[in-house]
């Protein structure tokens, strides 16, 4: 008998704990040639904003040791085209569709959410990209301050009954406080982490490798940071956590679950191996069979710390 891989994120039940991370899976269709997207626990779409965005000037990416930097700049088609052209294509897959949204202000967040609530397409939840700069707060990330994160979440909570997942930036001193604030404001779950601020320099040309000078670090290089942030959040709140950061294989998923993540997202690894997330699901199944595990969710938070 096969193991039960299902996990719950608030009112949402996922077929398995493996999702793909926002901005690393396009709008989904880009990966359809490589595997059946229905095998995934969920797809988190590229961040959608009210207006389309062209993104930052190139170079926008740089390779680093076991990681990469990006300054894509939330390039996206805007909510209108997303609803008309991108979201319909995802409907035929029996995987959870999580739409990741952002805005420059609480009102802009709300406007994007409202437009999505109006459309009669299947959406299984929203991920709130709180790492984007808040114009009113002087360009600081929404989730850099607990009071701001709280306010925005309260405002969005009034607009929908669908699950709300707050995606947190690791570029703060105490991520647990932010997690507590969004949990109190009514978020159903948190995702951690978004990219870390980083920089790469070409010593020969004496120039930064990104046009924006600094960018967001992702990939295997950030996994230890992500595990530590999930652990910190686990000790601060009781809402489910979705672990993100450097996941490449099923063993990484197990580590995140033990530390306290109910589910995970595969990001940068999709670029290297387009069917990576599907392989991870298969490997988790074999792992459970091999180890005689009936319910994978039983592993969540079972880290043995008396060492």
């Amino acid at each position: 008998m096969s193991a039960d891989l299902r996990v719950s994120i608030g009112s949402l039940t996922l077929n398995n704990p493996v999702l793909v991370a926002s901005g690393t899976f396009g709008y989904g269709e880009e990966f359809a040639p490589y595997f059946d997207l229905s095998v995934l626990g969920g797809v988190v779409t590229k961040t959608i904003t009210l207006e389309p965005r062209a993104g930052n000037p190139p170079p926008r990416i740089a390779e680093t040791a076991a990681g990469m930097l990006n300054s894509i700049g939330l390039a996206n088609v805007g909510v209108e085209v997303f609803v008309r052209e991108k979201l319909p294509a995802l409907q035929r897959y029996s995987t959870a569709i999580i739409v990741n949204i952002a805005g420059r202000s609480a009102d802009e967040f709300k406007a994007v959410l409202r437009r999505l609530e109006e459309c009669d397409l299947r959406i299984d939840g929203y991920e709130l990209n709180y790492s984007c700069p808040n114009v009113k707060e002087g360009g600081m990330a929404f989730s850099a301050r607990p009071d701001v994160a709280y306010e925005v979440t309260v405002a969005l909570r009034k607009e929908t009954t669908r699950p709300l997942i707050a995606k947190l930036t690791p570029n703060v001193t105490r991520i647990g406080e932010i997690a507590r604030a969004v949990a109190e404001a009514g978020a159903d779950a948190v995702s951690a982490i978004n990219t870390l601020v980083g920089m790469a320099v070409d010593h020969r040309t004496r120039t930064p490798k990104l046009a924006t000078v600094v960018g967001g670090l992702s990939g295997p290089a950030i996994k230890p940071v992500a595990l530590a942030k999930v652990w910190e959040i686990k000790n601060a709140v009781s809402i489910p956590i979705i672990g993100v950061g450097g996941i490449q294989n099923y063993e990484d998923v197990l580590e995140f679950m033990l530390v306290g993540a109910s589910a995970v997202q595969v990001g940068t690894a999709n670029f290297v191996t387009p069917d990576c997330a599907a392989r991870i699901v298969r490997d988790l199944e074999s792992y459970c069979d091999r180890e005689g595990i009936d319910r994978l969710a039983d592993l969540v938070g079972r880290l043995n710390v008396e060492c």
């Binding site: 040639p33 990416i61 490449q248 999709n270 290297v272 387009p274």
Partner: protein
């Protein structure tokens, strides 16, 4: 359809001090790939280097199910690839990107290659020759020693002109100067230009084609993380509209672009 292929290495020969010609067995790729398309190769198991490395398809042998790449050793990834030997298996993603378009209205194809830009140009010359088109190939490099793929091009029924910047072989000067000279023999709507090489060269090709109103396509290179349109990292600027700057993705909208599509002056 692009796919992941597990490809046995058939041969990996060193053709110049820095350049290797790698041949892998990949029957499906050989059947599906079109000139201008590329593959994204995982050069190493580990997370360093993390990304795959993109290479244009240099040649295909559909009957034998072989695909050839021509690559220069630039850094870590290509150094690892230079070490690939028969018996190894490479993880290859492809074919990716948009291919060259056929020449419109029976125009004379004029293929221009600078340095390693000869890779897609050789495949294009191969295909056009097989279709009975009679391409003219202008091949440029820094000096005679850096001219690659001469042997393979010489085997094709193409008219080949060489250019070296130091004049050690063929025309003395950049290949774009040779192009400008050759173009004077044609009416602007009698020729179709196809070019691949460093961005400076493609900028010049764009200028020449635009000024003379010649139909032309260029094949571009950028850094790529995914190669499949997911990361949005390989953006190149197009001509700005009233709405501000705009970008196209080299891996998905290209790597082949019409000379009018991009703004390489920026």
């Amino acid at each position: 359809m692009p796919a992941l292929h597990s490809c046995p290495v058939v041969s990996n020969e060193q053709v110049t001090a820095q350049v290797f010609r790698l041949t892998v067995r990949a029957p499906r790729l050989a059947t599906e790939a079109a000139p201008g398309q590329f593959v994204n190769v995982k050069v190493w198991e580990g997370p360093v280097p993390l990304w795959r490395r993109p290479f244009s398809v240099y040649s295909v042998d559909r009957d034998a199910g072989l695909v050839g790449l021509l690559f220069a050793v630039r850094g870590t990834g290509t150094r690892l690839l230079a070490g690939a030997t028969p018996g190894d298996t490479l993880d290859v993603l492809g074919p990716l990107g948009r291919a060259f378009a056929p020449p419109p209205e029976e125009r004379q194809p004029l293929l221009v290659a600078g340095g390693l830009g000869v890779a897609p140009v050789h495949f294009l010359a191969q295909e056009m020759s097989a279709q009975g088109l009679h391409p003219m190939v202008l091949l440029g490099a820094r000096d005679a020693a850096a001219l690659c793929a001469l042997d393979d091009l010489a085997r094709l029924p193409v008219v080949l002109h060489l250019a070296t910047e130091d004049g050690s072989r063929g025309f003395k000067g950049p290949v774009t100067e040779l192009l400008a000279t050759v173009l004077t023999d044609f009416h602007h709507n009698g020729v179709a230009v196809y070019a691949c090489g460093p961005v400076g060269m493609l900028r010049e090709v764009t200028r020449i084609c635009t000024a003379k109103r010649v139909w032309g396509q260029i094949c571009l290179e950028t850094l790529m993380a995914c190669g499949i349109g997911a990361c949005m990292g390989c953006a190149v600027p197009t001509h700005a509209t009233s709405a501000g700057p705009n970008y196209k993705l080299v891996c998905k909208d290209g790597p082949v672009f019409d000379v009018r599509e991009l703004d390489l002056e920026r």
